[in-house]
């Protein structure tokens, strides 16, 4: 390889590795990370050389893949699943000169940053739309695992929907998987049978969107836009956009300015994007949804702003009080009005 390179090339390109939990063709979580990787290549050109390993099981195999990447000269490694947390920390300890970026985790080290997106902000916007659009007043919600991130999403969507439609009811189905198209499709059907006419999901495949299209109801894209799966059903979407962050952080390593950080970005920084509104949403609702989006960006509004009670009726946030990130990160309770229990 050294022979084929022209001599003028001064600096070696920075080798950047990505470890994915699913296949890049999942059209959800991993797909969006890979788009971020491609954006890095595009933006930084021959200053970087990216590579990835897909479908890497969490645990021992992940640790080995990361070590191999570090050994083979990668200087920056993005590990894009919560389950990679301990492996990332272990490998980072062995390679102090390699920078690691771990998505959605909470353990950090001098050379390990964490990053995640405030998806709940996006859910406030689509919850608002859902509250307006539902005619049966039943919103179906396909949830994966009862972790704080998912619970947070349910709460913020519910609060926003409830605000515009006091009669709204959320029916929640836990599928205990991130990715199982058949099961997600079944869950969507079950919710529709229960009267849901708007479906939200916190799982990765576009299966629910296709079912919504088939049944003539509404749904929102998750992780990627999913417009092609539901041309009429899709109202809007929450898109994970990792590109700006990936480009910024990769640049920082090239410039030597990289520092350990804990990033939790939302709509404002562009990590959470709201997909274009469908023209089935009435103009006034589009306008109010846009206003909410702008208020969140401006900081004049927060998804969790009191008065909010917990499900059992006890006060969580007083009038005007905003939830602090610590509580949000560990959120394990429903807000008042949601029925059912979080599975234990």
């Amino acid at each position: 390889m050294a022979f084929t390179l022209p001599i003028e090339v001064a600096a070696e390109p920075l080798k950047v590795g990505f470890v994915y939990v699913g296949p890049i063709g999942d059209y959800g979580w991993t797909h969006e990370h890979d788009i971020g990787r491609q954006a890095v290549e595009e933006a930084l050109g021959d200053k970087v050389e990216t590579s990835y390993a897909e479908s890497v099981p969490e645990g021992a195999d992940a640790e080995r893949v990361m070590t191999q990447m570090a050994l083979s000269g990668h200087k920056l490694i993005y590990t894009t699943s919560f389950g990679y947390m301990d492996p990332t920390i272990n490998v980072a300890e062995k390679f102090p000169n390699v920078k690691f970026e771990h998505a959605t985790g909470f353990k950090r080290a001098p050379n390990v940053s964490t990053y995640s997106a405030r998806f709940y902000e996006g859910r406030t916007v689509i919850g608002h739309i859902a509250g307006h659009m539902t005619e049966t007043n039943v919103v179906g919600y396909i949830a994966s695992f009862p972790i704080p991130e998912v619970v947070r999403g349910i709460n913020s969507a519910y609060l926003a929907a409830k605000k515009v439609n006091p009669d709204v009811e959320f029916k929640i189905v836990w599928v205990f998987t991130w990715f199982d198209p058949a099961k997600e499709a079944d869950a969507a059907r079950a919710l529709i049978d229960q009267g849901a006419d708007v479906i939200m999901q916190h799982t990765d495949s576009p299966a629910a969107m296709t079912i919504a299209e088939e049944s003539g109801i509404y749904a929102f894209g998750q992780a990627s836009d999913m417009a092609q799966f539901g041309p009429t059903a899709r109202l809007s979407s929450i898109i994970d956009d990792w590109s700006p962050y990936y480009i910024e952080r990769t640049k920082a390593v090239i410039d030597g300015t990289w520092e350990m950080t804990d990033t939790w970005h939302g709509i404002k920084e562009g990590m959470v994007a709201i997909g274009a509104f469908s023209d089935r949403i009435p103009a006034d609702v589009q306008a109010s949804a846009t206003a909410i989006k702008e208020a969140i960006v401006a900081g004049t509004m927060h998804s969790f702003e009191g008065p909010i009670n917990r499900q059992d009726g006890t006060v969580w946030l007083k009038e005007g009080e905003r939830a602090d990130d610590g509580v949000l990160l560990g959120m394990n309770f429903y807000v008042e009005g949601i029925e059912g229990d979080i599975p234990q």
Binding site: G17, P23, I24, S51, Y52, A53, E54, S55, V56, P57, E58, G59, A60, D61, E63, R64, V65, T67, Q68, M69, L71, S72, G73, H74, F82, G83, D86, F106, F145, P146, I147, P148, V151, F176, L329, G330, N332, P343, Q344
Partner: protein, 347 residues
């Protein structure tokens, strides 16, 4: 092997990759690459350890015509049982904790394997099917427990247990710094030698082989077929259970819903590739481990998709299985010409 290389090479060429480079990365780089091999060489042993341990256990049953294909379930239950002991005694730092967990792992795997054994003895149920069904029961039990009582109280409700690396008493740590080689690797090597000795020198090895090839003769020789069933399934279950425990306290570090990655099934392939012979199994296990690690390298070194590596592994197995049996078969034909009509054996 050569056929696979040719077929694999064609596949990689079709995908627009340099075939020679791809094959070099998959087979040779894990052992010889300057930058990564110092790490991947011991890692091959680490990856092979559970495969070889399980396959060694299975080989007795397969020789005796007893078909345990539920090693995956026994592996999971072994890990679950051992891990539960560790979690129940948390945060004990006693030195005997890891051995105790190991014992619980063995017992867990043993119990799970004895279910098909006893059902076969008392009800004549087919052990292939019962052991396979028990894999799914085990998988569901695992996810039920890690989303339930075994879930880590400090893990934000993520479906995973406490880390076994946090305490030295539950950590199946690497024994040689920087290599990742844990107890399992040494168990594996010891077991290969031990099984070789059993097969060649011990009466049990002979009895197993006899029961498989000539069940009636075995009966006349005073071998109790029921005892054989219990022993063969018990051995494979125990070893699978131990392998599971060593994995969860070692490389994996914690119980999660994604803990089972199919070692129990891959081990069946390893057992056959190794022709049920201890040394063969070791070699087959190492070969599988190399293709796993080489496959990972190929992904990020030359951008080969994970799927292409799966296809390549599948082809490798097809060719090895096909040719292996030809060789095996010819040997039998000569030595057992009298027994021709009984050749219809499940091999």
């Amino acid at each position: 092997m050569i056929l696979t290389v040719i077929a694999g090479g064609t596949l990689f060429t079709l995908m627009g990759k340099n075939p020679l480079e791809a094959i070099r990365v998959i087979f040779l780089d894990p052992i010889f690459n300057d930058t990564v091999a110092s790490y991947t060489r011991p890692q091959i042993l680490v990856k092979a350890a559970p495969l070889v341990m399980i396959a060694l256990g299975l080989s007795y049953g397969f020789r005796a015509n007893i078909w345990n294909i539920g090693a995956e379930g026994q592996y999971i239950i072994g890990a679950l049982a051992g891990a539960s002991v560790g979690l129940a005694l948390y945060p004990s730092e006693a030195f005997w904790l890891l051995p105790l967990m190991g014992l619980a792992g063995i017992v867990g795997g043993l119990v799970w394997a004895l279910i098909p054994a006893l059902l076969k003895i008392y009800f004549r149920t087919n052990e292939i099917l019962v052991s396979l069904m028990l894999v799914y029961v085990a998988i569901n039990l695992l996810s039920g427990l890690v989303t339930g009582i075994l879930r880590s109280p400090i893990g934000f409700n993520f479906p995973e247990s406490r880390s076994f690396h946090a305490l030295a008493s539950t950590h199946n740590d690497e024994l040689i710094a920087g290599t990742g080689m844990h107890f399992g690797v040494f168990f594996m090597l010891g077991l290969v030698i031990f099984c070789y000795w059993i097969l060649k020198r011990h009466i049990f090895g002979f009895q197993v082989t006899l029961s498989g090839q000539a069940p009636r003769a075995a009966k006349f020789a005073g071998i109790n077929p029921n005892l054989m069933i219990v022993l063969c399934l018990g051995i494979s279950g125990s070893l699978a259970g131990l392998a599971g425990l060593l994995e969860v306290t070692g490389p994996a570090g914690k119980l999660t819903t994604t803990f089972p990655v199919g070692y129990g099934f891959t081990a069946i392939i390893v057992a056959f590739l190794g022709r049920l012979h201890p040394l063969g199994i070791l070699l087959a296990g190492l070969l599988m481990a190399i293709t796993y690690i080489g496959g990972e390298l190929a992904q990020f070194m030359i951008g080969l998709p994970a799927a292409a590596i799966l296809v390549f592994q599948g082809m490798l197995l097809f060719f090895l299985l096909a040719t292996d049996i030809l060789v095996n078969f010819r040997m039998r034909w000569n030595t057992q010409s009298k027994n021709r009509s009984r050749i219809a054996r499940p091999s």
